[in-house]
Symmetry: D2
Subunit: 467 residues, 4 copies
């Protein structure tokens, strides 16, 4: 869950900045932009896009080619630098920004070290960059990317800024197209300009028209004034369903499907027969599904929970003592809509169950008579190894089935979406979706003998920094 | 439009911090907290509450008595310090945080200067503090506040932190009670604690129960473990209607009325007969009114505009060139809900008309067939002299009547709330409301011969800093 | 040991900045400038002058009247603000910067609190400011200063910036003139400009000509384009001898005496008869005395100790473990000048003995055959209550006599200046000097019954912050 | 004119920090430390060592191997990073810190670019690092360094931190040994530790004993607990004479010669016969030579110029208007030693003549009767291409001969050292010294056809950044 962009634009750093603002929801932990004229210019930092570039002269990031990144909080260890894009001077000078997760990165790391490559971090982005750089020592970019794709496993929607031959941006997606990546075009008086971005909202705010998604296994090369498409690997689509459920902005279009539409239908598709007085969404992500649900079931829709807009996703109470209460700090209750009411509380999904339980408790504190919890997503029973922060099975509240899920979160009832309903809402053949977190069918080769070990190893490494 | 708090709490600075977070919407420009044990401790700064206190050890603000402030952007000039609370060392040590506007402050300033008081800023808060300090040289706090109220004109909901006799917090409201101020109480193992706050949400997040509003003309004294109420001036209630329409959070209760309820009714009260396909609110303030409107008129409610949560009210494009487009940066359109549709666009109010016009333009760009603009507030035709940022009549788009208002903002039609509908929604006798911005009937004495000059003089002073 | 300035200058903040740079040696802990046009402008901060004003636009400190301050490290406690100048808004607006120490400040503090004056810090500067402000409520500045001088005891060379009647700077010195303060004048095309400064070097760097010292008990009023002199109290001169020995820069002129000359003579006046090979000064303060000593005794002068110019007086090792070794970090030895040599090591004085012992050890480590320690100052046997950081008698290595002083610092011999030699070097009647640290004859009334308690009380208060 | 260190030390970052403090005089513009345990850790920044590491936890720079650098101000252009050490990830991970100047770096740059190496800066350090990295792809470190030395021309005393085989520090010097580099050893309970440093003072402050200088053309490998010496190229010594004259600290030992001794003899060697009253040094560098001069000529030595210790070499007046006067700000005059006197003013050297002229003017302003200027260095007539900031011939005031040098700097007479006197003071055979700036005999091959073009090309590149 990160966001990336890559572009050719006469005002590259400025367009990159605005697009990163638009996909800030994909990562609030760090941000960075790498640009190229005849030299490379890099600015990265921890915090929101507005914080990282606060008071920074964007003009200092010279050039008309750029890649950028927003990072979701992870416990990385990066002694030499700060955050993405990562940059290597040799060969040609090249930088990379990455969204996804390489499942065989431990193995790749060992191979790279044998080749005298120093890896400074535990980030798979650095591994991906070095695998590609290694190929590039022997070959041209297309062949290098093919070699890279043959080696790496997992999910990767990435952009590379390459210094060779005056410079170009390369955008590519793994053969399953797990994480999203779209391409846009803009007509200007200086000719056509191009942008690759994790979500189409990044194109909207900078005047780019959405052309289409980068295809699974495809390499898109953006040059000054031109664009080329090369299908590197045979596409085996397995698009992440959770992008539609939670991650992406509702105003984005992924694989031609409006996220807003999908969420609205997710609400409509819920089969629900309890008697309730009111439908209340958990702001902000669940509003669309709740609306669809309320209309379909002919129930009144009310904004019974109000969000404090000034406390971000990553807000941390400066005092340990009160950290538990943070959910109350972020949400306030409209007593009139809650007190004495039988409530259908709609949330996008139930992951660990912690937030769900706090929400139910909060509503009951304000006098709710009944709280029926609606999850617009089916039960999440399996870890995700492709870049979403739910990689440890034991932490998933539904990992051992949804028996007594009501008890676990304290609700009067819990109603889940069905997998069939989800697929229908997305409107894509089931075979083209990655539903691994729902059904355990992982689209990629997990070369580790035991899938469970993937996340455990990963966590151990993160904590001990021993590898 | 600022927010204030005053409290006795064992963890005063921490409670102040959390309450200020809850009323951050009343001012994002600056924040500050003043505390007292046997000494005073002050921390103020420019920016959001989280920014001002980022990395600041709240423990350094010692004591169990505190006042705090969040400031709305104004063009003040304060060479010696930064922002409120203002502090004076003599007599006794006293600080003040203020929400409102003194209409006779030029006159007061002249008087104070004659008394050898140095005024460093053009802020009326500094004037109010010095008038009170001057009285306090001669008398006790109650008599001093009475003397102060007899001198100052305009609106003021304020809190004072006084060092005398071990310390106390004084909360008071002008005789008209124009700006809001509520009192809450908390039972703790150490006895009762008390808080005064601009809005009840500030009480909610820190565990205080709302007792009631500070009465117009009343002085409330919060001491360590006790509270006293003194009616200083005869109450002549004239509560600001715009607090219900726009300023306050929907989850606040003002004068016993839920802001959420009022807004919902504002939507229901609109008389509307056009044929439209969909009701779309302008997020976030108009959502409640739009919902009431849609349900009453049996029209589909859709979230066709999506707000970027990471761009605040005060976000400023770092590049002049694109400042015009900022509204597009903050809002993105769900094309499916807009394209080819006849839209009822609900906003809380129309002030200058600039934003309204941009919204209509934006929807048309995405293919809206018709855009009918609904204002949940009646036409704003007169300046406000009581602290809301609409003090220059010529800037109000409806100041010369609503003729061709459609043309001015580019909408197919514009439908306003009626004053009667507004009063009904609030559910309070019309005589107890300040409706000056709607009907020109100002509740206070405007001792300047020409009301218009009030804002003009004020603006001149702000710009020239000559006085 | 602080430094102050006060001035009327068309470029007041700029001249203040440069003069503070010139007297930076008097205090490296904090710095500040307060200016006045029709308003007051204040900038203070911790650190060196260059650090405090690094990146700060001096133009922002508007006006042609200013006072400024550099502070010596003390363990103050100042919750509301940072450092001097202190500022009070009432009456008229007035600020104060102070060099010295009030010996009856505890008593003054009690009186002020009885008068409803809040004191925020344990600084005597705040007390002095409030005593004067209190007088000013009743009277004109001259009478107010007379009233102030009648109340306060101790040493004070101070400047006040007063807002009354358009503004003026008042410079004054206690009746004993313990701490230095000089007045300079500059002819400009706009008429005459004036500056008061702790040392004449502050005048030199800004083009002011030294007129004379402010007289003991005198008040000098600097107005726009004019200067007035009022003798407030009868002068009873007792100028600090340690200014000549150590504190002041050698290029300063105090009471008409060149500090360089005095130090040179201090060296000449030492009676010394040991056989040594070389004279080595402890850089930088002792260089002049060492030169005089070497020439008089016909001994070779060598720079055997080299100072690291990049480690300031206040440099603190960032690691506790190595703090002990700091003296080695600051000084490096020229082995050739030391190894096998009988050395006369000249230092300005011996206070606690710690540094002296480390110096001797360092020289021995590099092979010195003998180390004879020469102190250009007589034995320091009594605490100073007038602003020099040696206020606790027990900490002075010579407080119980100089028996076995050689053993205490590890030298082969120790030779002190005589009091008579010191007086002769300064060239002023003994009666006009404060020699209290040498002979225990304190020039001021020490109203505390037991002189010793002065420093002890002071220390207790500093540590406990109980008063 | 930079300073470098490389070391194996259990507390590597801490020892590096202290040694960099000791050689801060070699560069005040930027500083950096790179350490290695199993990963690399890098911290660089602009400013003094104390500023760059102010508040930085040295513990964060983990490991027992380190290299470090202090940089002299140059107008570099380094968009990706800040300052040295430079770091490359591939192969093995390696960093480099460099003191010197490569005279064929334009040619090397072209070759590197042809090999797909991206160069981001105009720094020859980056070129040197890449040449070595390129060799290292094909071979072991010794062969790689031999290959590097065969390619690069000019001066280079450098340290490399190499990640290969667990890590090692490589220190080396060009075959002429132009810039200094010494090796020290420390016995600890954990065995022997080693340090390479530009000057021996860096060893002194961290407890290392000076072993000897790195030999011209030698490679010294510091490993954990061991050291190896490999003579890579035949030594052709040509040590920089200006290190003795000006650059190094007086307490350093270079090639076994005490810099203090050399400077003292430089003073003694001056042939001078004018009648003067006093000898005055320009602090701080000229003090030693002035002392030697005064004693030899039996003239009184006086410190007539006092330096403001708080204004560094790189202090820049924050106001353009007064920049001219900066020399007055840094130096103050003791009038008594100057007024009416015939002065022998001793400075280390005369380069551009600007400072010399200002000094003479300053002394005359204070009433000097005659000013005779003594340069402890012979006339500087030719540019230096080996790393000292005097690379443009036309800027050297003596480049066209010393005719009327008195007129140019305004002195009554100018007396220079002779080359013979300089050689004698250093005490080394003339053939082993680089005297190029004095006699135009450059020890290295200057492959550019016209030596003059070296500096001109260099300057053009610096300014235009076009290459």
């Amino acid at each position: 869950m990160c966001g990336i962009i890559g572009l050719y634009d006469k005002e590259a750093s400025w367009a990159a900045y605005r697009s990163l603002l638009a996909i800030q929801h994909r990562g609030q932990n760090a941000a960075g932009i790498l640009t190229l004229n005849s030299k490379f210019y890099l600015k990265t930092g921890n915090g929101l896009v507005t914080e990282v570039f606060n008071g920074f002269p964007l003009d200092g990031l010279k050039g008309d080619l750029a890649i950028g990144h927003v990072r979701y909080p992870t416990s990385g260890d990066n002694p030499l630098g700060e955050s993405q894009p990562f940059f290597l001077q040799y060969p040609h000078g090249l930088g990379l920004a990455h969204n996804g997760n390489l499942t065989n990165y431990l193995e790749l790391k060992r191979e790279l070290r044998a080749k005298e490559r120093t890896l400074q971090t535990t980030s798979d982005t650095e591994v991906l960059l070095n695998v590609f750089a290694d190929e590039l020592l022997k070959s041209d970019p297309i062949t290098s990317l093919e070699g890279t794709m043959n080696k790496v496993e997992g999910s990767y929607s990435s952009v590379i800024l390459l210094g060779q031959d005056g410079g170009k941006v390369i955008a590519f997606r793994d053969p399953h197209g797990i994480r999203p990546l779209v391409i846009g075009e803009k007509d200007t008086e200086n000719g056509k300009e191009y942008m690759a971005c994790s979500e189409s909202v990044g194109l909207d705010v900078t005047g780019y028209e959405l052309i289409r998604d980068v295809r699974p296994g495809e390499m898109v090369t953006i040059k000054r004034g031109g664009i080329e498409f090369d299908q590197i690997m045979e596409p085996k689509p397995a698009h992440c369903c959770f992008e539609y459920v939670y991650i992406s902005r509702p105003d984005s279009i992924i694989e031609g499907k409006s996220v807003y539409d999908v969420r609205f239908k997710l609400g409509e598709n819920i089969d629900f027969s309890k008697d309730v007085d009111v439908v209340i969404p958990v702001p902000d992500t669940s509003r669309t599904a709740a609306l669809g649900f309320a209309l379909k079931n002919n129930l009144p829709y009310r904004e019974g929970l109000i969000k404090n807009r000034y406390i971000g996703r990553t807000f941390i109470m400066p005092c340990q003592k009160y950290r538990e209460e943070a959910v109350i700090e972020k949400l306030n209750v409209i007593r009139k809509e809650v007190s004495g009411k039988r409530i259908a509380l709609v949330d996008d999904s139930i992951v660990r169950g912690t937030t769900s339980r706090r929400l139910v408790t909060l509503l009951r504190k304000y006098g709710a008579k009944e709280v029926h919890f609606i999850s617009s997503c089916p039960p999440i029973t399996n870890p995700c190894y492709y870049g979403i922060d739910m990689s440890v099975k034991d932490e998933l509240v539904a990992s051992k089935g949804i028996g007594d899920i009501e008890g676990k979160i304290g609700a009067d009832s819990v109603t889940y979406q069905t997998i069939e309903g989800l697929v229908r809402a997305i409107g894509m053949p089931r075979s083209k979706l990655c539903l691994a977190c729902l059904n355990g069918e992982y689209p990629t080769n997990l070369s580790c003998s035991n899938a469970e070990c993937l996340s455990r190893n990963r966590e151990l490494e993160r904590r001990n920094m021993k590898i």
